[in-house]
Symmetry: C2
Subunit: 101 residues, 2 copies
DNA sequence: GCCATGCGTAAGTATTGACTTACTTAAGGC
DNA sequence: GCCTTAAGTAAGTCAATACTTACGCATGGC
Protein backbone atom coordinates (compact mmCIF):
# COMPACT_ATOMS: atom_id res chain seq x y z
CA UNK A 1 0.00 0.00 0.00
CA UNK A 2 3.02 2.29 -0.10
CA UNK A 3 3.65 4.48 -3.13
CA UNK A 4 6.61 2.27 -3.91
CA UNK A 5 4.29 -0.68 -4.26
CA UNK A 6 1.95 1.41 -6.39
CA UNK A 7 4.67 2.57 -8.76
CA UNK A 8 5.99 -0.94 -9.09
CA UNK A 9 2.47 -2.13 -9.89
CA UNK A 10 2.12 0.42 -12.69
CA UNK A 11 5.41 -0.45 -14.36
CA UNK A 12 4.47 -3.29 -16.70
CA UNK A 13 2.57 -2.06 -19.80
CA UNK A 14 -0.19 -4.66 -19.63
CA UNK A 15 -0.93 -3.89 -16.01
CA UNK A 16 -0.97 -0.19 -16.80
CA UNK A 17 -3.36 -0.91 -19.68
CA UNK A 18 -5.76 -2.60 -17.28
CA UNK A 19 -5.48 0.32 -14.91
CA UNK A 20 -6.26 2.77 -17.67
CA UNK A 21 -9.22 0.77 -18.89
CA UNK A 22 -10.75 1.17 -15.47
CA UNK A 23 -10.45 4.88 -15.99
CA UNK A 24 -13.58 4.61 -18.13
CA UNK A 25 -15.45 2.98 -15.29
CA UNK A 26 -15.80 -0.29 -13.36
CA UNK A 27 -15.57 -3.52 -15.30
CA UNK A 28 -15.67 -7.28 -14.92
CA UNK A 29 -12.54 -9.37 -15.38
CA UNK A 30 -13.79 -10.99 -18.57
CA UNK A 31 -14.65 -7.68 -20.18
CA UNK A 32 -11.22 -6.31 -19.34
CA UNK A 33 -9.57 -9.36 -20.88
CA UNK A 34 -11.55 -9.02 -24.12
CA UNK A 35 -9.81 -5.82 -25.08
CA UNK A 36 -6.32 -7.06 -24.23
CA UNK A 37 -3.88 -9.36 -26.03
CA UNK A 38 -3.45 -11.61 -22.99
CA UNK A 39 -5.46 -14.41 -21.42
CA UNK A 40 -8.07 -13.91 -18.73
CA UNK A 41 -5.98 -15.58 -16.01
CA UNK A 42 -3.20 -13.11 -16.79
CA UNK A 43 -5.63 -10.27 -16.20
CA UNK A 44 -6.67 -11.86 -12.90
CA UNK A 45 -3.07 -11.98 -11.78
CA UNK A 46 -2.50 -8.36 -12.69
CA UNK A 47 -5.66 -7.32 -10.87
CA UNK A 48 -4.43 -9.03 -7.74
CA UNK A 49 -1.23 -6.99 -7.83
CA UNK A 50 -3.16 -3.76 -8.44
CA UNK A 51 -5.52 -4.63 -5.60
CA UNK A 52 -2.68 -5.41 -3.18
CA UNK A 53 -1.09 -2.08 -4.11
CA UNK A 54 -4.31 -0.25 -3.25
CA UNK A 55 -4.99 0.93 -6.77
CA UNK A 56 -8.21 -0.98 -7.47
CA UNK A 57 -11.06 -2.36 -5.40
CA UNK A 58 -13.12 -5.47 -5.96
CA UNK A 59 -16.88 -5.97 -5.71
CA UNK A 60 -18.90 -9.15 -6.30
CA UNK A 61 -22.04 -9.22 -8.36
CA UNK A 62 -23.40 -12.69 -8.95
CA UNK A 63 -20.63 -14.78 -10.46
CA UNK A 64 -18.87 -11.68 -11.68
CA UNK A 65 -16.26 -9.60 -9.93
CA UNK A 66 -16.38 -5.94 -10.70
CA UNK A 67 -13.15 -4.01 -10.39
CA UNK A 68 -12.95 -0.25 -9.99
CA UNK A 69 -10.24 2.29 -9.41
CA UNK A 70 -9.38 2.99 -5.80
CA UNK A 71 -9.62 6.76 -5.81
CA UNK A 72 -7.63 6.99 -2.59
CA UNK A 73 -4.74 5.09 -4.12
CA UNK A 74 -4.66 7.24 -7.23
CA UNK A 75 -4.83 10.48 -5.30
CA UNK A 76 -2.05 9.20 -3.04
CA UNK A 77 0.17 8.90 -6.11
CA UNK A 78 -0.78 12.36 -7.27
CA UNK A 79 0.11 13.74 -3.85
CA UNK A 80 3.39 11.87 -3.95
CA UNK A 81 4.47 13.57 -7.15
CA UNK A 82 3.09 16.83 -5.93
CA UNK A 83 5.40 16.78 -2.93
CA UNK A 84 8.26 15.59 -5.08
CA UNK A 85 7.88 18.55 -7.29
CA UNK A 86 8.05 21.01 -4.42
CA UNK A 87 11.14 19.34 -3.02
CA UNK A 88 12.84 19.41 -6.37
CA UNK A 89 12.11 23.10 -6.70
CA UNK A 90 13.57 23.94 -3.31
CA UNK A 91 16.59 21.78 -4.01
CA UNK A 92 17.11 23.64 -7.24
CA UNK A 93 16.79 26.95 -5.53
CA UNK A 94 19.36 25.90 -2.94
CA UNK A 95 21.80 24.71 -5.56
CA UNK A 96 21.37 27.89 -7.56
CA UNK A 97 22.05 30.01 -4.51
CA UNK A 98 25.08 27.88 -3.72
CA UNK A 99 26.55 28.33 -7.18
CA UNK A 100 25.85 32.04 -7.03
CA UNK A 101 27.82 32.33 -3.82
CA UNK B 1 9.10 10.75 -22.87
CA UNK B 2 5.49 9.57 -22.52
CA UNK B 3 4.06 8.96 -19.07
CA UNK B 4 4.10 5.26 -19.86
CA UNK B 5 7.86 5.42 -20.27
CA UNK B 6 8.13 7.38 -17.06
CA UNK B 7 6.08 4.95 -15.02
CA UNK B 8 8.00 2.03 -16.42
CA UNK B 9 11.23 3.79 -15.46
CA UNK B 10 10.07 4.20 -11.86
CA UNK B 11 9.06 0.57 -11.42
CA UNK B 12 12.31 -1.08 -10.27
CA UNK B 13 13.14 -0.28 -6.61
CA UNK B 14 16.80 0.60 -7.23
CA UNK B 15 15.92 3.04 -9.99
CA UNK B 16 13.27 4.58 -7.81
CA UNK B 17 15.84 4.90 -5.02
CA UNK B 18 18.12 6.86 -7.34
CA UNK B 19 15.23 9.06 -8.33
CA UNK B 20 14.37 9.78 -4.72
CA UNK B 21 17.95 10.53 -3.81
CA UNK B 22 17.89 13.29 -6.39
CA UNK B 23 14.96 14.71 -4.50
CA UNK B 24 17.50 16.11 -2.03
CA UNK B 25 19.33 17.87 -4.81
CA UNK B 26 21.65 17.30 -7.78
CA UNK B 27 24.37 14.71 -7.40
CA UNK B 28 27.25 13.05 -9.23
CA UNK B 29 27.07 9.42 -10.30
CA UNK B 30 29.71 8.28 -7.84
CA UNK B 31 28.01 9.91 -4.89
CA UNK B 32 24.71 8.34 -5.83
CA UNK B 33 26.34 4.93 -6.03
CA UNK B 34 27.94 5.27 -2.60
CA UNK B 35 24.61 5.16 -0.83
CA UNK B 36 23.29 2.23 -2.82
CA UNK B 37 23.93 -1.52 -2.64
CA UNK B 38 24.77 -1.76 -6.35
CA UNK B 39 27.83 -0.97 -8.45
CA UNK B 40 28.51 2.38 -10.07
CA UNK B 41 27.93 1.07 -13.61
CA UNK B 42 24.53 -0.16 -12.52
CA UNK B 43 23.70 3.37 -11.38
CA UNK B 44 24.89 4.70 -14.74
CA UNK B 45 22.57 2.35 -16.55
CA UNK B 46 19.62 3.34 -14.41
CA UNK B 47 20.37 7.01 -14.94
CA UNK B 48 20.30 6.48 -18.69
CA UNK B 49 16.80 5.01 -18.45
CA UNK B 50 15.64 7.87 -16.23
CA UNK B 51 17.13 10.39 -18.61
CA UNK B 52 15.52 8.80 -21.68
CA UNK B 53 12.22 8.89 -19.85
CA UNK B 54 12.60 12.61 -19.21
CA UNK B 55 12.81 12.30 -15.45
CA UNK B 56 16.37 13.51 -14.92
CA UNK B 57 18.76 15.85 -16.72
CA UNK B 58 22.51 15.64 -17.04
CA UNK B 59 25.15 18.35 -16.68
CA UNK B 60 28.91 18.06 -17.02
CA UNK B 61 31.31 19.58 -14.54
CA UNK B 62 34.92 18.66 -15.07
CA UNK B 63 35.16 14.91 -15.17
CA UNK B 64 31.94 14.62 -13.22
CA UNK B 65 28.40 14.35 -14.46
CA UNK B 66 25.81 15.97 -12.29
CA UNK B 67 22.29 14.59 -12.48
CA UNK B 68 19.22 16.49 -11.36
CA UNK B 69 15.49 15.93 -11.44
CA UNK B 70 13.70 17.06 -14.57
CA UNK B 71 10.95 19.17 -13.03
CA UNK B 72 8.92 19.04 -16.22
CA UNK B 73 8.92 15.26 -16.21
CA UNK B 74 7.86 15.04 -12.59
CA UNK B 75 5.09 17.56 -12.99
CA UNK B 76 3.91 15.68 -16.08
CA UNK B 77 3.40 12.61 -13.93
CA UNK B 78 1.58 14.63 -11.33
CA UNK B 79 -0.72 16.00 -14.01
CA UNK B 80 -1.26 12.51 -15.33
CA UNK B 81 -2.59 11.24 -12.00
CA UNK B 82 -4.51 14.45 -11.51
CA UNK B 83 -6.47 13.83 -14.69
CA UNK B 84 -6.89 10.20 -13.82
CA UNK B 85 -8.45 11.09 -10.57
CA UNK B 86 -11.02 13.36 -12.15
CA UNK B 87 -11.95 10.72 -14.70
CA UNK B 88 -12.34 8.10 -12.01
CA UNK B 89 -14.60 10.39 -10.07
CA UNK B 90 -16.89 11.04 -13.01
CA UNK B 91 -16.95 7.36 -13.88
CA UNK B 92 -18.01 6.60 -10.35
CA UNK B 93 -20.68 9.19 -10.44
CA UNK B 94 -22.02 7.75 -13.67
CA UNK B 95 -22.06 4.22 -12.30
CA UNK B 96 -23.75 5.35 -9.12
CA UNK B 97 -26.44 7.16 -11.06
CA UNK B 98 -26.90 4.07 -13.21
CA UNK B 99 -27.39 1.79 -10.22
CA UNK B 100 -29.78 4.31 -8.66
CA UNK B 101 -31.98 4.27 -11.73
C1' DG C 1 52.83 13.80 -22.81
C1' DC C 2 51.33 11.17 -18.89
C1' DC C 3 48.79 9.66 -15.04
C1' DA C 4 44.56 9.98 -12.23
C1' DT C 5 39.74 10.49 -11.86
C1' DG C 6 35.00 9.91 -13.12
C1' DC C 7 31.73 7.70 -16.20
C1' DG C 8 29.74 5.36 -19.94
C1' DT C 9 29.79 0.94 -22.65
C1' DA C 10 30.13 -4.05 -23.72
C1' DA C 11 29.32 -8.61 -22.80
C1' DG C 12 27.80 -12.17 -20.13
C1' DT C 13 24.91 -14.16 -16.26
C1' DA C 14 21.19 -15.13 -13.30
C1' DT C 15 17.04 -13.92 -11.40
C1' DT C 16 12.68 -12.07 -11.82
C1' DG C 17 8.15 -12.12 -13.45
C1' DA C 18 4.74 -12.01 -17.22
C1' DC C 19 2.48 -15.34 -19.63
C1' DT C 20 0.47 -19.93 -20.81
C1' DT C 21 -2.67 -24.20 -19.99
C1' DA C 22 -5.04 -27.06 -16.79
C1' DC C 23 -7.61 -27.29 -12.72
C1' DT C 24 -10.52 -25.78 -8.70
C1' DT C 25 -13.88 -22.96 -6.57
C1' DA C 26 -18.04 -20.18 -6.19
C1' DA C 27 -22.58 -18.43 -7.61
C1' DG C 28 -26.94 -18.63 -10.16
C1' DG C 29 -30.63 -20.79 -13.31
C1' DC C 30 -33.46 -24.82 -14.30
C1' DG D 1 -28.91 -31.79 -7.61
C1' DC D 2 -26.82 -30.53 -11.98
C1' DC D 3 -25.08 -27.67 -15.48
C1' DT D 4 -23.29 -23.15 -16.89
C1' DT D 5 -20.84 -19.10 -16.20
C1' DA D 6 -17.19 -16.37 -14.20
C1' DA D 7 -13.00 -16.01 -12.02
C1' DG D 8 -9.09 -17.26 -8.94
C1' DT D 9 -5.13 -20.75 -8.35
C1' DA D 10 -1.22 -23.87 -9.53
C1' DA D 11 2.58 -25.15 -12.09
C1' DG D 12 5.64 -24.61 -15.58
C1' DT D 13 8.05 -21.89 -19.39
C1' DC D 14 10.41 -18.36 -21.57
C1' DA D 15 11.91 -13.73 -22.28
C1' DA D 16 13.13 -9.46 -20.21
C1' DT D 17 16.23 -7.08 -17.35
C1' DA D 18 18.82 -5.85 -13.32
C1' DC D 19 23.15 -6.92 -12.10
C1' DT D 20 28.29 -8.09 -12.50
C1' DT D 21 33.34 -7.44 -14.24
C1' DA D 22 36.32 -5.72 -17.74
C1' DC D 23 37.27 -2.21 -20.84
C1' DG D 24 37.29 2.27 -23.37
C1' DC D 25 36.80 7.33 -23.39
C1' DA D 26 36.97 12.12 -21.95
C1' DT D 27 38.56 15.72 -18.78
C1' DG D 28 41.90 17.99 -15.78
C1' DG D 29 46.29 18.51 -13.06
C1' DC D 30 51.36 18.03 -13.13
Amino acid sequence: MTYGEKLEALGPPTRRAIFEKLREGPSSVGRLAEGLPVSRPAVSQHLKVLKDAGLVVEARRGTERIYSLDTEGVSALRDYFDGFWDDALSAYKRSLEASDA
